[in-house]
Structures are given as structure tokens and as C-alpha cells.
Symmetry: C2
């Protein structure tokens, strides 16, 4: 990875933070380029043509090439390190948690954080109001599933921190911004502290 | 992979089909165990305790261990084969498409197939009716993004078929079941034919 790497991001996004945390734990340096998603800066013709046709951040630029999707960018950075298990089954199990994060956790836990923190309850659309109870219940179920799993083990996969933990830490540790109560999930709270005690850890505001 | 492998599935699900197609292209044999999702057979206490606490299929059983999440199971089967690129950047780019599939394509393209084909328009809930226009638009945007990409290349990543193509083929080729018009996406249609011409290909009904 001798090529120059640039993270195209919106710093407060947990998806962008995942990539910064992965890089920090690996001792890799990333240039950072900020886009204001609230002003549509990732939907400009230039961004769509040159950075990501999907109009979203984060995107990890490696030389002149681009990797959208937070968990794919983390995988690119971490392959071959201890953040990706050497065992074939464990590696697939790590990806299992990362796909679960994007399908089941992020659309509920992260989305309510965005709705409450960036849009504001008084501005919710009809679609948001109708979806709120389902997203709340699904987010609580996701946190409960993590809590039950983490009651039996220190890390989501294997014997140490992997990208599965990083991917799920990003939005779990700020879940209260979306109205979730982390006190209901003691094993999750203990795991958050383990992640934060890892050498090289940086916070979302760093 | 000398261990016995069992696919816990609902055969008509595109997510389950991805794993069968991957196994077929690799010449691997899987036992198959069918669950009727319409009767709640993946939400029984036994299924939640023994197969997947998340209450969903597919789950790939390897010996006595279990891999939920379709794309993680495909990765487990295909690692080390030509279905996973040998180049580090391309491997991450393949995962990029697979995460995009689960976050942006499946919740729109697959979900409308399920709503129209399994629930029926006359039975749609209020939540479904309110979400329909947004899901239709997002699904069309996803197919358009694929079409623009595939207008410039034969396969989503690199020079041959990879898990990215398999993951996106599964629900794209049956998108019309959800009311999408594949005729609007000629490059996608040509790519579907390329996937179907691959030696070892099996259809979703096989």
C-alpha cells in the first residue's frame, strides 16, 4: 500500500469513522477530504462522475482508483493484518457480521441517529414517521442479538478484535444519539470499553 | 472443505440461490434443508437457538458451525477460486459490490419481488404502501447504476465472473417479478446472458 490514500468522507458519519479507526489501529495514514452531505456535496455531477456514481461517502481513494462502501474499504486496508482472521471460517464469520451490520444494524441504529440528530423530529416526513416504530424495534433487536452474543465472548469473532468489531462499534457506541438505551445491553457496554482500550484507538471526533 | 455442508434455505429466495449458484460453479455439493418462511419456520425457538439467532435464511452449515448472511457464505465457499479475484484491490472492489447489493439493491429490488409475489398488492400494509414509491425509485436507480457500469465492461470486477456478479445476478434476473422492467437496462440484460452462459450455471429453480 505505497499508493497515496485519500478518504472522501463526512467526518460525523459512523461509516466514515470505521475506515479512520481501521487505519489508526493499523498505523496507516489517510488524507481526508470532507463533503457536506447536508448540502448535497456528494450528489454533484463532479462527485458522481469522479468519486462514486452511487453519490455516497465514504469512498477510499487508492492512487487513482476508488473503493466505495465502508466495510469494503476497511477490508482493503486490513487484509493480511490481525484485524482479519487467518482462519477461513473465522474470516467468513467476520464478513457475516459486517454484512449483518449493513443490512440489519445500520439501517436502524444509524438511521435513527441521523433522523434525530440531523433532520430533527419536528421535521420528519410521513415516510419517516411511518417507519419509525419498525426501525426502533429492529434496532433494539439488533442490539439485543449483539448483547446475547457478547455475553458469551469478548470479541465478535475469534480471540481478538477484528473488522467485525470495528464495523459494529462505529454506530453502536453512538446509538443513544438515536434514542437507544445502551444501559439495556450490559455485554455490549463492556465490549465497547474493550474496543476503546485497544492500542491505537481513536474516537469518532478525532 | 472436507466437512459436510448443509444449506438451510427457502429455495425461492435469491439470497439462498446465490449460495447454490456459487457451489454449482465450483463443483461443490451441498445438502439442502428447506424452511417455509411464510409459516415462520425460521423463527421457531429451535431455529433461533441452533441455526441463526437472527431468524433468517440462508445459513450455510459447515460441520457443526454456521455461517448466516448469503454473501459471507458465498465468500467462504469461493475463497481461493477464480470467483474471488487474486488482486487485493479487485478483491475489495468485489466486496464493494456485495455490500452495495445488500444495502442498496436487495432492500429495493428483492423486497418488491417479495411484496408482489408473496404478500400480494391487495394485502399491503400501511408501511408497505408508504414505502413503495421510495423503494421503486431506489431499485430503478440501482439497476441504472449497474447498467451504466456494465455498458463499459463485461463483468463487474476484473476480467471474469466473480462473486460480485453472482450476488447481483440473483435478484436482478428476477427483478420483473417486482415490477421492474429489465428492457430499460440493455447492458444488464447482456450481462445476465453472460452469467447464464457460464459453465456450471444452474437456474434458481434447479
Amino acid at each position: 500500500m505505497s499508493e497515496r490514500m485519500i478518504l472522501h468522507e463526512y467526518a460525523a458519519s459512523g461509516n466514515c469513522y470505521k475506515i479512520r479507526l481501521t487505519a489508526a489501529l493499523l498505523g496507516l495514514s489517510l488524507e481526508r477530504r470532507e463533503y457536506d452531505i447536508m448540502k448535497g456535496e456528494t450528489r454533484t455531477p463532479e462527485f458522481l462522475a469522479n468519486v462514486n456514481a452511487n453519490g455516497r461517502i465514504p469512498v477510499l481513494q487508492v492512487g487513482e482508483r476508488f473503493i466505495p462502501e465502508s466495510n469494503a474499504a476497511c477490508f482493503y486496508l486490513a487484509e493480511g493484518s490481525s484485524l482479519v482472521p487467518a482462519d477461513r471460517f473465522d474470516r467468513a464469520d467476520m464478513l457475516r457480521w459486517m454484512f449483518w451490520e449493513q443490512y440489519t444494524h445500520e439501517p436502524n441504529v444509524a438511521t435513527l441517529r441521523f433522523w434525530y440528530g440531523w433532520i430533527g423530529e419536528e421535521n420528519f416526513s410521513e415516510v419517516q414517521r411511518v417507519n419509525l416504530p419498525g426501525k426502533r424495534a429492529a434496532g433494539e433487536a439488533a442490539l439485543k442479538l449483539m448483547d446475547e452474543d457478547l455475553a458469551e465472548r469478548a470479541w465478535l469473532v475469534g480471540a481478538g478484535l477484528t473488522l467485525a468489531d470495528i464495523a459494529l462499534y462505529a454506530y453502536t457506541h453512538v446509538a443513544e444519539d438515536g434514542g437507544y438505551r445502551l444501559g439495556d445491553y450490559p455485554a455490549v457496554q463492556a465490549w465497547l470499553k474493550r474496543v476503546e482500550a485497544t492500542p491505537g484507538y481513536v474516537g469518532i471526533d478525532a
